[in-house]
Symmetry: C2
Subunit: 336 residues, 2 copies
C-alpha cells in the first residue's frame, strides 16, 4: 500500500470516515475517547492528508502564485520572503515562478496557477498582461502587481517611490554641505532611473547654489560605474563634483573603484558617494557605501495583504495603489 486514506484510518479505529474527518477538522465535536483511537490509528498507518482531494472538495487551493522577473535578484527574493511570511500566518503557501523577464514563461506560470485554482496572483509583469489578468479576475482569481504601477489603475499594485528615494539621496548629500552633485546612471529609459534622477533634481532645485551634473551610463553595472569613476578622477580637481549619487549600488561600487584606483580620490573626504538598493555588497565595499534601501519584504507582505482583502470582498472591490517611501542608510562613504 502506497498511502493510507481516511477510509483505512476509519476502519482501523472502528469509526466512520466522517468521524475521522471531524477529528482532523473539528476536534471539539468528537469525544476524547474516539479522538484517541483515531489519533493512534493515524500514527500507526502514517496517514497524511491528500491535498488534491481537499482542494477538489474545497473548490480552491490554499496557495497563492507569485511570478517574479528574476529570482536571483536579492530584491525579489526578499520580496518573496515577505509574501511567504504573511502567507504562512494565513495558512497559505506561496508558489514562486521565475519568469526571467520572458513573456512566454510568465504566461506559462499564469496558466499553471489558473489550473491550480490559486487564491490569487502576485505579479511583477513583463509584457502587457492586462487582458490576461482580466481573464483571471473573471474566474475569481485576484491579482496584485508588484514593483510596477498599472497604467490603467484597474488593478491593485505595490511599488516604491523612486522619486522620493532620489530626493532623499540628494538631500542627504546637500545636508553634508556638498553643492556640486553629480548623478551617475542610465539608460534614462528605465523608469526607476528617470524617477531617481527627477527626485534628485527636485532636492537640488530647493537649495540655492547647488548644481546637478548628469553623467549618463549605458547600463547599471559595476563596469559602467568604473569608467564613470575613472573619467571623474581624471578631471582637474576643481572641476570634480564634491558628491556623487549613483542610480544603483552596482554603479556606485564601480564608481568607487574608478575613483580610488592608484590612490586617487579620497572617499568621502573629497567626494561623498551614495548608491541605491542597499544590496549586501554595499556594506562590504572598500569604503562601505551609503545607500537607499527599498523595503522589499514589506512590499511582498503588503501585496499579499491587498490580495487577501480583494479575495475576501465578494464584489465591488476598489483597487488600491500603495507606494512605499524608501529608507536612507548612512555608511562611511558619506561620513567625514
Amino acid at each position: 500500500m502506497v498511502s493510507a486514506s481516511v477510509k483505512d484510518v476509519a476502519a482501523l479505529a472502528g469509526v466512520s470516515v466522517g468521524t475521522v474527518s471531524n477529528v482532523l477538522n473539528r476536534p471539539e465535536k468528537v469525544s476524547a475517547e474516539v479522538t484517541g483511537r483515531v489519533q493512534s490509528a493515524i500514527d500507526k498507518l502514517g496517514f497524511v492528508r491528500n491535498d488534491a482531494a481537499r482542494q477538489l472538495r474545497a473548490g480552491m487551493s490554499h496557495s497563492i502564485g507569485l511570478v517574479v522577473l528574476d529570482a536571483a535578484n536579492p530584491f525579489f527574493s526578499d520580496l518573496a520572503r515577505g509574501a511567504e511570511d504573511r502567507a504562512t500566518a494565513e495558512n497559505l503557501t506561496v508558489l514562486v515562478g521565475n519568469s526571467n523577464e520572458d513573456e512566454g514563461r510568465e504566461s506559462a506560470y499564469l496558466d499553471l496557477f489558473e489550473q491550480q485554482r490559486v487564491r490569487g496572483v502576485l505579479l511583477s509583469p513583463v509584457g502587457n498582461v492586462v487582458p490576461r489578468l482580466e481573464q483571471l479576475r473573471r474566474r475569481g482569481i485576484p491579482t496584485v502587481l508588484v514593483d510596477r504601477q498599472t497604467e490603467n489603475m484597474s488593478f491593485s499594485s505595490v511599488a516604491v517611490d523612486d522619486l522620493a528615494g532620489g530626493e532623499m539621496a540628494a538631500a542627504h548629500l546637500l545636508s553634508l554641505g556638498r553643492r556640486r552633485i553629480a548623478f551617475v546612471g542610465g539608460p534614462a529609459s528605465i523608469r526607476q532611473v528617470a524617477d531617481r534622477l527627477a527626485g534628485a533634481q527636485k532636492a537640488i532645485d530647493a537649495v540655492a547654489g547647488a548644481t546637478l551634473e548628469v553623467i549618463a551610463t549605458e547600463s547599471l553595472t559595476v563596469l559602467s560605474g568604473r569608467s564613470a569613476g575613472e573619467s571623474i578622477r581624471s578631471r582637474p580637481e576643481a572641476e570634480r563634483p564634491d558628491a556623487i549619487f549613483a542610480a544603483n549600488d552596482l554603479l556606485a561600487i564601480g564608481v568607487l573603484q574608478g575613483l580610488m584606483l592608484m590612490g586617487g580620490v579620497n572617499v568621502p573626504k573629497e567626494i561623498a558617494l551614495i548608491g541605491y538598493d542597499d544590496i549586501e555588497f554595499a556594506a562590504a565595499a572598500v569604503v562601505p557605501l551609503s545607500s537607499i534601501r527599498q523595503p522589499s519584504a514589506l512590499i511582498g507582505s503588503t501585496a499579499l495583504e491587498l490580495l487577501l482583502r480583494e479575495a475576501a470582498s465578494e464584489d465591488g472591490f476598489e483597487p488600491t495603489q500603495v507606494i512605499f517611501p524608501p529608507e536612507l542608510i548612512v555608511r562611511a562613504s558619506t561620513q567625514g
Copy 2:
C-alpha cells in the same frame, strides 16, 4: 458561475464527459468533427482543467519539491533553474521551498510536499533528515540530496568535488611558475573549506620546491579577506607569497582590496590570486578574478534526472552518488 467543468463543456458540445476527456488526452481517438465541437465549447466557456481533480484521479501530482538552504544564494537559484529546465522537459513543475537553514522550515516544506504527493524531493539538508527521508521513501516519494553527500549512502546525491577544485586551483597557480602559495580560508570545520585545502595540498606536494602556507580566517566574508590581504601586504616583500588561493570569492575580493590598498601589491604581477565559486562579482572586481566554477545548473538537472530514474524503477533501486568536477575560470588576476 465561477468556473466551467468538463460536464458543462460536454453539455454545450452535445457529447459525453468521457469524450471531452478524450479530446483533451487522446485526440487521436476522437473524430475531427467532434473534436471541433468540443474545442469551440471549451473556448466559449473558457474551460480550464482543474488540477486538483486530475491529481486526485492520477494519485500523484506532476510536481517535484525542492528545498534549498538559501534562495538568495546565486548557487541555489542557478541550481533551481537547472532542475526546472529539466522538469519542464518532462512536463513537471518544481515547487521551491526556502528553508533558510532552519530545520523547522525544512520540515514544514517536507510536510507540505508529502501532502501534495509530489513525485519526488530534491533537498539540500539542514539537519539530520535521514529518518524523515526514509518515511518519504516508504510512501513512494524518492529523494535526492544536493550539495551534500549522505553519510550512509542509502540515498542518491549530487555534489561537487571540492577536493578536485582545490587541486585545480593550486595546479593553475603552479603552472604559472609560482611556488610560494598561500591558502586563505576558514573555519576549517566547514567541509568545503577543508576539502579545498586538502586538494591544494595535494597539488603542491606533487611539485618539488613548492610550499603551501595556510592563513586561517574566521569566516568566508569580504571583511576577513581584507584583513588577510592587509597582513600580507605589510610583510617584507621577500616573505610574501607569490600566489594566493582563497577559499571563496568573497574572501578573494577582500584579499584583493587588502593587497591593493594605498597602491600596494600588484595583482597578478607580484601576487597571483584565485578564488572559488565564480560568483557574479568575481568578474567585476577591480582586477577580474580567476575562480573555480561549480556547475550549479548541471547539479540541479542531474539531481532531477536521478530522481526521475528512481521514481521510474519500481523497486530494488540502487542509490547513485554523482560528484561533479569543478571548472577553472581564468581571468586577469592570474594572467601576466
